[in-house]
């Protein structure tokens, strides 16, 4: 039997969260002696490079190279997946808990009549339960899926991958029950911020709050992010005031992020902000108020004026990286 994984990609580049999902499935498969099949939908520029998914634990890659499937569509992709899962008589499908995965997983679970567990952060334990963060990261729950068929989404950046020296076999696979004319959604435009690290995949995030006083002061935030190879984020009032774009807003009502390092500058650490960042492995807080609640959630902190501390921190990082 097989564990099937959604290997989501952008123009042939498999997303980090998807690589984690493949590795997760392969760890799960070793206890179940199952085969891991990564499914790549839509054309990629270099199909032979897909054999490298073996490094993350995929045994086989199903490459569904139809151009009419290039644009993501939860419904169409779900129809393709259902056909694959039925053909393989698989019982488990794993997807990354990211933008597309979160849309496809529930759709597929409904159509494939499976139980759905989203955002897990552990392999099944000996009693079969999965760990999942609930209350926006303020608590953990252990959950059971009672159905034979299971659709599971894996929370990004909770499972570090180990690469191995193995190649997957790449097979072309074509759906026979799904046709181009079943598409009901037409993608008109796709805009990605070129060259920037997407917030959801960033391993380091530099984030600014109202303490920075105004949008004109974001130069140093961007520079710190640049020298660290980080993405930038902000608190909600900063996005609401239009100092920064909405998609940078993290927290309970914004994006949930889980980087290895989150640097919070001039952010008080309100509970709704923490809800979106408390899954970060390490938190650094720079705030001039020693009483700022964020310090209680921090691993490292500097009590000081951001306008003095951040430029010095930039210099220190540059020196460390040999950039100056």
């Amino acid at each position: 039997m097989a564990i099937v994984v959604f290997a989501d990609h952008h123009q042939g580049e498999i997303k980090k969260a998807a690589l984690e999902a493949i590795f997760y499935a392969s760890e799960w498969a070793t206890t179940q002696q199952q085969e891991v099949i990564a499914v790549v939908i839509g054309e990629v520029p270099h199909p032979s490079s897909l054999e490298n998914l073996g490094q993350y634990g995929a045994h086989r890659v199903y490459y569904v190279n139809s151009s009419w499937l290039n644009d993501f569509d939860a419904r169409l992709y779900s129809l393709v997946f259902r056909e694959i899962l039925e053909q393989l008589q698989a019982q488990i499908c794993v997807l990354p808990h990211d933008f597309n995965g979160r849309a496809l997983a529930p759709y597929l679970a409904a159509q494939w009549q499976a139980g759905l567990l989203t955002g897990v952060c552990s392999l099944p334990e000996s009693d079969g339960s999965f760990q999942k963060q609930v209350f926006s990261g303020k608590a953990l729950a252990w959950m059971h899926v009672h159905t034979a068929r299971k659709v599971i989404t894996l929370l990004p950046n909770t499972f570090s991958v180990k690469q191995q020296d193995r190649k997957a076999t790449v097979e072309n696979w074509q759906p026979s029950q799904v046709k181009a004319d079943q598409r009901k959604i037409r993608v008109k435009e796709l805009r990605t911020t070129q060259g920037r690290v997407p917030l959801s995949e960033a391993s380091i995030i530099v984030s600014g709050g109202r303490g920075l006083k105004g949008p004109e002061n974001w130069g140093m935030i961007e520079e710190l992010a640049k020298v660290l190879g980080a993405a930038t984020a902000c608190s909600r009032p900063v996005a609401d005031a239009g100092w920064r774009p909405h998609h940078e807003h993290v927290g309970q009502t914004g994006l949930t992020v889980r980087p290895n390092l989150y640097i919070a500058i001039g952010i008080s650490g309100a509970i709704q902000h923490l809800a979106g960042v408390n899954g970060s492995k390490y938190i650094v807080v720079i705030n001039k108020d020693p009483e700022a609640p964020f310090f209680q959630a921090a691993d490292y902190g500097i009590v000081g004026d951001a306008f003095e501390v951040v430029p010095r921190l930039i210099e220190a990082v540059k020196k460390f990286k040999g950039l100056s």
Partner: protein, 249 residues
């Protein structure tokens, strides 16, 4: 056009999270309950705006839950909507909620369904997609903008590091998040009007009573051991610690 907005009840964002002694359920004592912010601020407000734009729109709200969700539905009706439905079922996971709503949709017939991005307590992010899957309708998730010109819906959604704009015909399910609308505070007129709007209780379908996914127990995450403060002026020490101790740079 007939529009349905899915409303869920959730613990207030500042609520203290604690569990009963056996760790099996959420301790509700002293906790304030609110409309899930994604449902209230984004899904509902955008639907109310559509009704303002197209006054012949019929706008219904639905929540799956016990009698305790009725005050939440009344609050939602104060922001807008013609009537509300409560499916009488204590939901324990995504599937029963979606199955219950799908049954109602089949009976009532809708053109457009809005859900929130996710509930902020169980963070499932699943009801909208599962519902669309049951209905075999197209589904667009995490929408940051929605317009309808009377025939075609144009939806902008968030993707990794970017935006995607798609066009779709109705019927359609959309999960909504920040950007699609601005939060509205209900006014006195809305609150008064909500009191007399119909709120109908309906029975849950049998299929929704099956046990798909259940919670065994909860735990609070481990507390951080305490912050390591570094003197301002000593930023090089911070960089050293991040490299040698935390190993994150």
């Amino acid at each position: 056009m007939k529009v349905l907005v899915c409303i869920s009840k959730t613990a207030d964002t500042t609520a203290k999270i604690s569990f009963t002694a056996d760790q099996k359920s959420f301790n509700e004592s002293g906790v304030q309950f609110i409309i899930n912010p994604y449902d209230e601020w984004y899904a509902l407000v955008r639907a109310v705006e559509l009704k303002e734009q197209y006054p012949d729109t019929e706008l219904h709200l639905i929540s799956v839950g016990g009698p305790d969700v009725e005050p939440i539905l009344r609050k939602a009706l104060a922001i807008g909507g013609d009537m509300a439905f409560r499916v009488d079922l204590q939901p324990i996971s995504i599937e029963p909620v979606a199955i219950s709503i799908a049954e109602h949709v089949r009976q009532q017939g809708y053109d457009l369904i809005f859900t929130g991005k996710e509930t902020i307590d169980y963070n499932g992010s699943g009801v909208g997609g599962y519902l669309a899957g049951l209905l075999d309708w197209p589904f667009i998730s995490l929408a940051t903008s929605f317009t309808w010109d009377g025939q075609i819906a144009t939806v902008e959604r968030e993707i990794d590091g970017g935006r995607e704009i798609a066009e779709a015909m109705l019927p359609l399910v959309v999960s909504c998040q920040k950007g699609i609308a601005e939060q509205r505070i209900p006014n006195m007129r809305g609150i008064m009007a909500a009191r007399t709007k119909p709120l109908q209780v309906i029975a849950a379908p049998e299929k929704a009573k099956e046990n798909f996914v259940s919670i065994d127990h909860f735990a609070l995450p481990q507390k951080k051991s305490g912050v390591h403060l570094i003197e301002p002026g000593n930023e090089e020490e911070l960089v050293r610690l991040l490299h040698e101790e935390a190993r994150v740079i």
